[in-house]
């Protein structure tokens, strides 16, 4: 039995093992109705596997998935009408134009011709593609393809929308438009949104709650506000050097015991402390080592800092990964 108070998605002890490797390891979380929930993590962390498990493209090794209070472990297909799915790749038909693609996707959900054509026209307008609706999908730019793929995901007005890396590899304007669309759907239709992303800023801007996933395990889950509060009392100084200084952290850690140090890149480090940081001793220290400091600046703690602290992964590493992925 289900009632209106059941969460939109409830995952309990979900595990997926591929060839003895745990791609997803005992994850549990709930996504409330009307919430925008983000799953944030590096490549290979298990984000796409989690979406595949939730949508029926993969079978769980163990654990359970409830959608609006109903268990779909036995056959996820019976719950697929409740979901809109936007995969990380734009998997529409190259040979069809934008309008035909949307009509085709609508027909998969059993929409009659008149209704699906009306809905396709509405969505083409919503995603700003109404003037190019008769162009073949293959002729669209990557941003346009992404917008059409999202439109295809919401063609049947699903109560839950799954978005896998919605803005990866597209231009800033399209990414912004997509974020606006997601917000709009959530506010106007009460659509529950589950999204995975590499972009920390995107998760911070869009999501109400975020789960950090690393190596198949959820290491932290909380509201964006609470996550940022965790690091709000911290003071962070970022030093950049003229050239690589790989041992910077190691040396600073032993020279300044009241601070912690994180390497951002080969020539940039962050010094973190619960108290105000006086930069003079640090500058003198670097001078004594013959290291030229090109920039020293105060950093406002952000979700990125929470991510780095919780996952132990440098933000730069994430950036490299997403750049690699968008190529």
């Amino acid at each position: 039995m289900t009632d209106g108070s059941d969460p939109a998605i409830q995952v309990i002890g979900l595990t997926k093992i591929y060839d003895k490797i745990k791609a997803v390891d005992q994850i549990s979380f709930e996504v409330q109705r009307g919430e925008i929930f983000g799953l944030l993590g590096p490549n290979g962390a298990g984000k796409t596997t989690t979406i595949n498990l939730l949508t029926g493209l993969a079978r769980p090794s163990s654990g359970s998935i409830n959608i609006f209070g109903r268990n779909y472990n036995a056959d996820m297909r019976t719950g697929q009408h409740l979901m809109g799915i936007v995969p990380s790749e734009n998997n529409l038909y190259e040979e069809l134009d934008g309008f035909e693609n949307l009509c085709f996707c609508a027909s998969l959900y059993g929409m009659p011709r008149v209704e699906r054509e009306k809905r396709a026209r509405e969505l083409l307008e919503l995603v700003g593609l109404d003037t190019v609706g008769k162009k073949k999908f293959i002729a669209y730019s990557r941003g346009m393809q992404r917008r059409l793929t999202i439109a295809a995901g919401i063609i049947h007005n699903p109560p839950i929308l799954f978005l896998d890396e919605p803005t990866t590899g597209i231009d800033v304007a399209s990414a912004r438009q997509i974020r606006q669309m997601i917000r709009q759907m959530n506010e106007q239709n009460g659509t529950t949104v589950f999204l995975t992303t590499h972009y920390i800023e995107e998760a911070e801007r869009l999501c109400e709650r975020i789960a950090f996933i690393v190596a198949g395990r959820i290491v932290k889950i909380d509201s964006v506000e609470s996550l940022v509060q965790d690091v709000q009392g911290q003071h962070i100084m970022q030093f950049s050097f003229d050239g690589a200084y790989p041992k910077a952290c190691e040396e600073l850690q032993s020279g300044f015991q009241h601070v912690t140090c994180e390497a951002v890149s080969a020539n940039t480090v962050r010094v973190i402390s619960g108290e105000r940081i006086d930069i003079v001793p640090f500058i003198r220290y670097f001078e004594s080592k013959g290291i030229e400091v090109t920039e020293a600046r105060k950093i406002q703690p952000s979700l990125e800092d929470v991510f780095v602290r919780v996952t132990g992964l440098a933000a730069e590493e994430m950036k490299k990964e997403r750049e690699g992925k968008s190529k």
């Binding site: 591929y18 595949n52 949508t55 029926g56 493209l57 993969a58 079978r59 297909r77 019976t78 697929q80 009408h81 979901m83 799915i85 995969p87 790749e89 998997n91 529409l92 038909y93 190259e94 040979e95 069809l96 085709f104 996707c105 027909s107 998969l108 959900y109 059993g110 929409m111 009659p112 295809a152």
Partner: protein
């Protein structure tokens, strides 16, 4: 009702985007026409032509269906457009029937090219048309499901083509298309009876030349068993390999 909208939509899209493309139309006409003409020219008389029609019809259906299915299924899986279908709220059975119906229709239409050529050159009076048409449909379905089984067993289009040939070329001489199975070496003859086209060819020979080895009802039943088995095996493979 709603699921049938999905069915017709998939069927119509495949017809439009694959089967009605000029290369496929030309393949569907030129290939059976060339096969037909090649054998008919070699035949000395109208009687010879009549005896060749069943073989050419069977080959046309077999090659037409299996070649296209390798593309429509394997290619879509490769481009991940097939995932969109797997995520649609329709049953696997209906989905795979929708994906294969276009190939069945293509195979049936392929068959009527050599039948037409045969009718013009030799006249096909005395042909049992109803069982012939039913036979053509059964061969088209079994060949399509063989193509489906191959397509869902491999990952790449070229693998599908290679794997198809592994079945198709032996069938050319093992299934009694152009000469009776009895003329094959004894040790090869049992192989003939595990290939669906043997039964399809027997129906065609029976209806066109009235020369068949098994009762037609038995041929139909065996073909039906092949169809159901290949379809269920394909569904099992999709569930095991594509829903990881």
């Amino acid at each position: 009702m709603k699921t049938w909208i999905a069915f017709w939509s998939i069927f119509y899209k495949d017809i439009k985007t694959y089967y009605l493309k000029p290369p496929n139309i030309s393949w569907g006409i030129i290939f059976p026409f060339a096969w037909g003409l090649m054998f008919f020219i070699r035949s000395g008389s109208a009687l010879d032509i009549r005896s060749i029609v069943p073989g050419v019809v069977a080959v046309s259906i077999l090659f037409g269906t299996t070649s296209l299915l390798a593309v429509t299924i394997t290619f879509e899986k490769r481009r991940k457009t097939f995932d969109r279908l797997l995520l649609a709220p329709i049953s696997f059975e209906l989905l795979m029937l929708a994906k294969t119906s276009g190939a069945v229709l293509f195979g049936v239409l392929n068959a009527f090219v050599p039948i037409g050529v045969g009718a013009v050159l030799a006249g096909l009076s005395g042909t049992a048309w109803l069982p012939l048409v039913l036979g053509v449909v059964f061969i088209a379905i079994s060949s399509t499901f063989l193509g489906l089984f191959i397509a869902v067993s491999v990952a790449e289009v070229f693998e599908a083509q290679t794997f198809s040939n592994f079945f198709r070329f032996p069938m050319l001489f093992l299934c009694g298309l152009f000469f009776p199975i009895e003329r094959l070496p004894v040790f090869l003859q049992p192989l003939s009876y595990i290939l669906p086209l043997t039964y399809g060819a027997d129906i065609l020979h029976g209806t066109v030349t009235h020369n068949h080895r098994l009762p037609l009802w038995l041929d139909f039943i065996v073909l039906l068993v092949f169809c159901v088995t290949l379809f269920l095996l394909s569904l099992r493979n999709v569930r095991r390999k594509w829903i990881l």
